[in-house]
Structure formats: C-alpha cells, structure tokens
Chain length 343, copies 4
C-alpha cells in the first residue's frame, strides 16, 4: 500500500509540480529527488514554494540513484529516458513526462524530433477509449504532451461518434509560459511576455502536432488532418484549446453535447460545463481537471469545442500521477487535486 | 489646414485613445470633449494619463455641443449616432467608432444587434481594395470593429487573389480587455482575468462575425463561411488573430507571401514581417500598425495567417484618425504613431 | 472526530477559498453553503474552479440555515456577524473572516469603521506570543486582516525581543486584487490593473492600520507608531510587506536573524528563509505559509523585514482553518496546504 | 536647427526607447544605431515595435561609428562610456544613460560598483534646483538612475523647504521588469514574475541608494539617511515609489502640498495630482511624465509622498532627451510624449 517514488528532473517546472502533488498523495512517498546541473544544491533554491522539501538535497540523475523506488517519474529533456528505463528494467514503474515514447510512428518521430525513435510506451491518457484498461498494471507510461491532452479531450467525443469529421480540424491553443520550462530564452522574459500574445510553431511544425493526429486517428474511422497553432499568452500556467471540426450532416448542438456528456459523465477529472458556460484556464489552476464545452455554429458548418486545463497539472504532472495510480492499482483519484486555486 | 475636432464619449477607453492620438496631430485641434454620465467632471478624473488635458471639463453629449467642429468623433454606445448625424447634417465630418453604420445588410444587423438598421456609411478600412478612394472626401465614416480589422487584414490578400477559399474560414482572435470598455462586469475584474484566458461569443454569435464576412465577401468571388471565436487574455490591449483558410490547389507559401507583399508593400501601417517572424500584440502597443505573417501548412491543406494590432489604436481610434485624414485630404499618416511602446 | 462546517458568504473570494481548503480537510465536512444576493443559484456559477461542489445550491445566509453545524465560517461584509453569533449562541465555533471583532479599542473601531463597536473575540493569529493558547478551546475566532497578518509576522520578533523600536515603523505592503473581493469598482477592472501599480489608503487611513498597531503593542514595551501604505499590484493574490524599524543600538543582522529563527523554528507555517533569500508572493500561492526574511541596513539605522503570504490562504481562509483546528483540538496543520502552486 | 544623433546600445530596452522617442523628435534625426553582440543584424529583429526602423542594420559600437553626430546617446553596460567620451572629445553632446558619471563621491562609487570612479558629469535631472541651468549648453550629461529620479522627485520639495527631515527617510519602490534590461536571468522569466512580487537589493545595497542620497543631500541642510527597498512587480514598465519622511513640527498636509505645488507648477513633466488622487504607473506608460501626490500621516509623524513614472521613458530615455534638449538649446519639451498610453 505504501509506495516510494523518485523524481528525476526535480528542479524544473514539471518536476516541481510532481513534488507538489506527491506531497499530498496518501500512498506514495517522495524518495530521491534528482537533477542535472543543479545536483548538489538544496531543493529550496529552485522550488522555494515547496516548503516541506526545502532542505532536501538534489542528487545526480543516474540509474543508481533512481533504482530501488517503486515508481520513477522522469521530467527530463528528450533523449534521456531510454537509457534509464533499460538500466532499471522491470523493477520500477517508469512514468515519463517527456516525449520519447509517445509516438507510435517512427517516421513522424524522426520528422518532428530529428532523432531515432526510441519506441512506444502505454499512453497516459486514461480518458481515451480503451486506454484506462491499457494502463492498468502497466510498467511504463508515456505522459501525453500538454497541448495534446487538451486538444484530444476537446475533440475525440465528437469524432468517435461520427458527429464531426476528423478531416480539416483546426485547433488554436492559447498557453501559459511554464510549458516552455525554465529556459533562458529572450522571448520568455517577463518584459517580453506581459501585455503580449505571440503565436509560435505556426504552420504544422509544433511537435505536439503528430501526437494529436495519432490520438484522433485511433477514434476516427478514417484520415485525420489538422491545422494546429499554439499561442503564448501572459500567464504562467494554463492551456485553452479552441477546436473546430466540420459537423456531419444533420448534427446539432444538442447531439454533440449529448455525446460529450456520455463520454465524460463518469470521468473524475473531465467535466462538461453546463450549457452556455465556457471554460477558462483560471478555473483549473493547480487542479487535475479539464473543463470542456462544445457548441455548433450552423452557419459555419462547424462545431466549436473548448477545453481548458493546467498544463503542469492535468497537462503533465497530474496526468502522470493519475496514470501511475491506475498502473499501480491505486484509486485513480488518489492524491490529485479536484479543485483549483482561484481567483 | 487647421481643423477642430469634438470627441463624444471622451471618458471611455476609445475616447481616451482618440484624445491621446489627436494630442499629437499636427492639423487637428481638440475642441469639445463630451460624455454621458460623466459630464461635468474633469477629464483628469477619467483619463489621468492625458496630463495636458487634465483640467478640461466634460460637456454633455448633445448635437449643440458637437456642432461647429470640422470633425466629430463618436465613441458612444450603439444607437446614438444616427440622431447626432441628422442634427449636424453636412457641416462636419462624422467618424463613428461604434457599430451603427458598419453593416450593409439590414437583416444581419437585425439578427446580431436586435434593433432596426440605421444605414451604412463609408467604411473606414482604407487598406481594403477600393476603400481608400471611397473615403476620400467622405463626410461620414464607419470605423470597423477591432476584431474585424484584424481578421480582414490577415485574410483578404489570399482570398482576393484566389489563393485560398473563402469558404470554411476559421479565425480565433485573442484579445485584451479594453475592447470591452470600462464596463463593470464581474468577468472583467482584474482578479478574474489575470492568469486566465476565456473564450466568449463562441459559436458564431459575436457581433463582429457578419462584419468580417461582409468585408471578405467584397473580395471573394463567391460565398464566405466563417467560424470566429474571440478569446479574452490577460492584457489590457491587443488582438492577435490566427486565421486559417483552405488553400487553392497548387498554392504554396511563397505564392501566398508574394500576394501579401504586393498588397501591403505600399501600405504605411500594415507590415508583412520578414519570413519566419510572427507578429505579437506587444509589437503594436499604442501604434497605428498592423503586423502580418502568413504561411502554408501543406499537410493540413490550409494557410495560416496571423495579424496583430492594438485594438484601441489601429483597431479603433487610430483607424478612425487615419480615415479622417483621408476624408479631410490630409496626409494619411498625419499624427499617427508608427512605432509602438515596448517592452 | 468528524465535524461539519457551514460557510456563509460562499460565493465570494474568501468563501471560495474556505471551500477549497475544506475540500481537503480530513476532519471537517462541508455542510451548508450560503450567500446573500446569490442565494438560490448553483455554486458552480460563482466558483467554477471548485468542480466537486459545482452542483451545490446556495442557501440564504440566515441563522437557521447556519445552525446545526459544529463550525460556522463567516465571510461576510462588516456588520453581519454579531447578529448571527447571538442567534447561534454557544452551539457552534464561529470563525469570522470579517473585521467586526478584531479590535479591542472601541474608539479605534469607531474612528476607522464609523459604526458602533461590536466587541472583541479571540484573535486568530496563533503565531503571536500566547495566542495559540488563547485559541485552544475557543468558541469564537476573529480572523486577522490579511495585511495585518503579514506585517505582524514580519515585525513582532524584533520588537518583542527589543531589537527594534516600535516607534516610527514604516510598512509598505504590495497586494494582489482579490483582497478587495469581487467588487465591481472601476479601479479593479483588469484593464486598469494590468501593467500598473497603485497606492491606496495612503496616510494612515487604511482599516488594517489600528489592527497592526494593536498586535505590535501587545509585544512592545511601549508606544507603537506606524506609517502603513498598501499598494495594489497586477496579480490576483499575494501580499508582500516590506517593513522597516529603527534598530536598537548594538543590534546587527545576525542578532535579528537569530530572534526570528527562535520565534519561527517550531512554527508549521511561518518560515524564515535561508540567509540572502527573500520571499516572493509567488512562493506562497494557495498555501497556508508565510515566508519571512530580515536584515539590517546599518547606514540607515533600520532593520528591513519582508513577509510574503497568500492573502486569501494564510491571510484569510487558511488562517481561519488553522485557528479552527486549534479551537476544535484538531492537529493545527490538518487540511492546510504546506506547499504552494508555482510557477 | 536639425541635429543628428547616434544611439549606442540600440538593441536593448533603453536604446529602443531612445529610438522610439527620437522618431517623434522634430529637431533630432536618427543617425548611427550600434550594438555589441547584435552588431550586423537588422534592428527589426530586436525592436520589432519600431516599424519605421526595421531595416536599419546595427553597426558595431565604436568611437569611429559614433563620431560625426551632434548627439551621442549611450545605453551601454557600465564601464564603457569613458573611453568613448575621450575618443569623441568635445565634438558631440554625449548623454550617458549608464551609471558611470552619476556619482560625485569616488568612495561611494567604489563601494557600490566595485571599480574605479570615472568622474562626474552634469546631472540630467532638470527639476532639481539649479540643475536646469547647469545643463544648459552642457556637452556631457549623466542621466539619473530610474529609481533615483522617482524618489528624488517625490521627496526633494519637502526636504528643500525644511518641512521634512532628510534623516531616516524610507523609500519602497515597486518597479516593472524592463529596468533589469533584456538579461537572461531565471528570476526575470515570465513564469517567475507573473503573479508574484519580489524584493531585491534589500538592506541598502542597491546601486541607486547612494545616488538618491547624493541628490537629497544637495537640497537638505544636513545629513541624509535612507532605507531604500526596490520590489519587482509583474509589469513590463513603471516605478511607483512610496516615500516617507519625518515631518517637521507644525507641518501639515496643506503646507506640504503647497511646497510641492510651488516646485512643480511650472514643470512641464512633473505633475502634482489633485488632492486625494494618487499616481499609478499605468498613468505614465510611454510618457515623459512623473506624477506625484503627498499627504501627512499625523499619527505616524511622517509625510507620505508617492511618485510614479515610466522607468524607460522619464526614468531613462525620456529624461535623456529632455536633458539633451536643454543642452542643445532646443525647447525642453521637444519630441517628448506628454500623454501616456492607457489603459
């Protein structure tokens, strides 16, 4: 019943959020906390908001340090996970918040990441049809990209039920800055970001693009085409994806809402809002929730679905813990905040 | 050579921006400043950023007060302009920042505004083909909606040249809060907005919807359909419209860029950015500029164009002064800031 | 072991934060949720971030509805608490987040609040010397003002130990907007607040002024004089108080730090940061923590102490639950977040 | 009548603001624009908000490139100005936005900057008594630090008139992020700054400390002691200084206000607000204005003065151009924005 977890990459934003959530987990105890360049320093220097862990010292991220834990959460740059997984073998559940094992298509990996494909792990989005079962008892989990979770949840119910076409999808996702990590890049400076919104990765080149297509292909009865544009907004956290798809003939808003209600009514963390209420990212700060609303614009021939979540919580660390709970046979909701911090 | 201008609605955001711009205008002098409920108070109470005008007292917005000026700028709620225009007759150039005279289609007006259509005035978007000429010597100007200017500039070159289809357009426009004016509504409180983004008017119900369609219909050789979703973001000013359209067969990014370059190379205020650079709203704060970039996502079969501008400047007050300059025969750029305040 | 709590004022910001914290409380169950004008509506309309409570319907705030709970939390405008307390009598622990029962000096109350003094309740700041004991078993708690908690924690250790003078204190406290509640006032609009900081209540007129003086008078061996200026900053939550006091002759930074260490080392929620590290409000978002640092500026003859906390958490609702825990004989830390949400 | 100006450090924030202001200057034309590491690139890459200058190429910052202009504005890191000034000799007015020549006290320089003192130039704060005259015809100008201009304007009238003591001054200055320049430091990342305020340089160690003391010593009839704490706030621009000083016996608010009115009534850019109105930084964005208010807190025995300005405008580049105007014999207000961009 009591598990221990190591967190690799504990000085970054995703690592910090894993620690914050695990501090409240009833069945998982925080073991080793590791880092790369920050190894040897106090965790409190990098995550001063985690008062109970302030005096922990960061160890080096090595298989030896990570070994001996029941769960290992990896919050590392791309390309590091395979080696650690090989070294640890089957002794631990490994939950990778990075991209290495998300894609099934080696060509797509090569095209978007420019390196050799490392393989594919069970995909950590339990709300996708069949996926909760696939995660049960798994020893490896690939946590989805944050934009991917948002867009997938917003679109899959309509596509799975044939109410909207998976061809010619258009997604514009407004996101906070923490998704870029603690990178020292000029466009991430507060001076540049506050008071401004900025598109990036425009034209189908963002790495979350093929992953959204992969998820929706699973539920669509045919090809998927997608125009995806992320937009950076002046807030630390949150993603709001506005997703449109061509509706099938005869589909109306009531039918679409019914499909979403059916898919999500038993979900602990995905909530279809009451009719007329639209999600905002502020409603999800720090919670493992995703909020969804959908309508049909008949003049445009399109449905419009919006989903909001916290990119570090449900979009990364919360989703990771949710999948770990399933894999370990714990209650899926264990330790996961169901309420957000607002205003 | 010297003109006088009255500003009606001078205590609001659009009125304040008109005053800020006119303070720097070489040929237009600020005359009467009027308000509704705020009449009788010092302008400095409402617009403390306009130090040179702080001691001006707001008069009541009546035709009598507005009469006797060469130009009258109206920054009023919908439904007030017709009466003032009738009273002033042809004695003044009237530039209406409100919606009353923007639409040509009385049915669309009725559907989106729920009142009787007041008529149609020359449309204040000089960058639209033929429109600069239509404004020359005009005595009435209807200033476009701020979302409308943004989306129209982002899309019309491709549509006018047949490089993209006007059917199945998708526009998602991220906007600052000042577009909503100084309205005391809970969702506009700082506590609610900071750290959050929120869609609104989803599903084709926003009032700028028919106006975007109207503009693009002028340049398209056929029907226009549009899915338009505005998203409120935590910044006071700025609109970034991400606009996608299905590309015509055989169209590539170079062809689309060439079309935009051609349309905008002689424009004083609309700038196609260098290849690979994408506009942000921060690049436009306080300036009368609109920045545009465009590319083609071949896998998606869509072009993606982004335009950024300051909703109060080029999107309202700056656009109003630009059209007034043309109507009065002044240099089009007179008094208009070409550089923004950044960071 | 299981207690029930009613929350009056559940549709406001303080009420929402009480609910968020109580959702994670192991020994207190949420009972009635009540409101004034919002009675009859779903809680989800006002607190959409509290997904688990979205379908609760707000009852009217009356003694009848609040009766029958072990604890009643009041998050009401001033002047409402006395009547409710009288009606409920000794049947419930009443924890008042409002100001009515904070001050001991009826004259000060009259001067700053302009109404008749209602009385004085046990004061909910357990970190003040002797106060934890005073709260044990209490049936009434007056939760301190948010600025008051911040300034008191930053200053009292030095004053209590005679290391700094309580005369001529200067406090400047930068605060987020949620402290003003969900009030529809122009200066609280997002458009006005983002990108701007604004002093208010300048010159000793803020209502938290006499309460800070009252707390520091308890620990000082003489008179207290205070210059207190709050400053509104563009963030939803958080207070950073910069507090200076004249140092006693011979006092240096090491002596002052030692005094703070002694006072806070056993405190579960107040943390003296490592030397050289200064608190920020971002380190406390959503947590019940207060972070403190102190140094001495010898050239100025003053010590400078900074304290940061979340005005809605430790500053209001968290402090309220902490005091309720003590009053009920529960572990003081029960249900209270010790880690913050960052970045 | 027509002057040319070179701008050294044109790819940084201060350099960008100099260019923005000079674009609107009637008598100064922009000549060479230079940079260090960014030499050779288009200005538009670094200052995309300056559309009219986008295609200018940055030259290397060398005396040769800067030579031949009437005015040379230096926006460089410390330590570079002396060499350039020596090379250019008396051929140009040199206006240094850096710190090298601000301090008169070589010891203070050594203590706060840790290098050898380069000397002292005429000080670019024309509002200080006698300083406008000192700048007339000057060939060198040292532009004050941004915090220094703010605190000096807030305090000097009371001190000069003996209404407040210059001993035991306390200043807390809330500032936006652009004052730190485009430095890639973790604490300047948007993720860290948004939603948070952070003190820095606490305890009398900030480099603007001795400069504030220097200015106030000029007007005081005796020693100056100062506790100065800057606080970083989530906004790109703006400084709000809250300044308190012990009042002289018998002084009241009316007397203090009268002193400020007298000092500032003829000033083109410093405005004492109407009684009861307090300055905010948002009222000054992009303008060369400083807004001031003052009151007396009799219970505290202190006056409280607040001043707000835009750190890049009046606080740096605007102040630089104002002093250049005076030095060149141009109208002091030439080219300087008197109205701000708000909201």
């Amino acid at each position: 019943m009591g598990y221990t977890a190591a967190i690799a990459g504990a000085s970054g934003y995703a690592g910090g959020e894993l620690l914050r959530i695990l501090l409240g987990h009833p069945s998982i105890e925080i073991g080793a906390v590791t880092a790369g360049g920050n190894a040897g320093s106090r965790l409190g220097e990098h995550q001063p908001h985690l008062a109970p862990l302030a005096d922990r010292v960061l160890a080096e991220t090595t298989p030896e340090v990570l070994a001996g834990h029941d769960v290992v959460f990896l919050a590392l740059p791309h390309g590091r996970s395979a080696e650690i997984a090989t070294a640890l073998g089957d002794t631990a559940l490994i939950v990778d918040c990075g991209a290495d094992f998300r894609l099934t298509d080696a060509d797509a990996w090569q095209r978007f990441y420019g390196s050799e494909h490392a393989g594919t792990w069970p995909y950590g989005l339990p709300e996708l049809p069949g996926q909760r079962e696939a995660l049960t008892g798994a020893r490896r989990v690939a946590v989805p990209g944050c934009h991917v979770t948002t867009a997938t949840l917003a679109l899959f119910p309509a596509i799975a039920d044939g109410l909207a076409s998976a061809e010619d999808l258009v997604v514009v996702a407004v996101t906070g800055t923490s998704g870029a990590g603690r990178s020292l890049k000029p466009h991430l400076l507060g001076s540049e970001i506050m008071g401004s919104v900025a598109p990036y990765g425009v034209g189908g080149v963002h790495r979350h693009n093929p992953e959204i297509v992969q998820n929706l292909s699973r539920v669509a009865g045919g090809p998927v085409t997608l125009s995806f544009t992320p937009v950076l907004a002046p807030m630390p956290r949150g993603i709001l994806a506005t997703c449109t798809a061509r509706i099938a003939p005869g589909t109306d808003a009531a039918a679409v809402r019914a499909a979403y209600r059916r898919r999500f009514e038993a979900e602990p963390f995905v909530h279809l809002l009451p009719e007329g209420a639209w999600p905002t990212t502020g409603m999800t700060l720090g919670a493992n929730t995703a909020l969804v609303q959908v309508t049909v614009d008949e003049a445009a021939g399109r449905m419009v679905a919006c989903a909001a979540l916290d990119n570090l919580a449900k979009g990364t660390a919360g989703g990771a813990v949710q999948s770990a709970n399933i894999a370990l046979g714990l209650p899926e909701t264990a330790g996961l905040p169901a309420a957000a911090v607002a205003p």
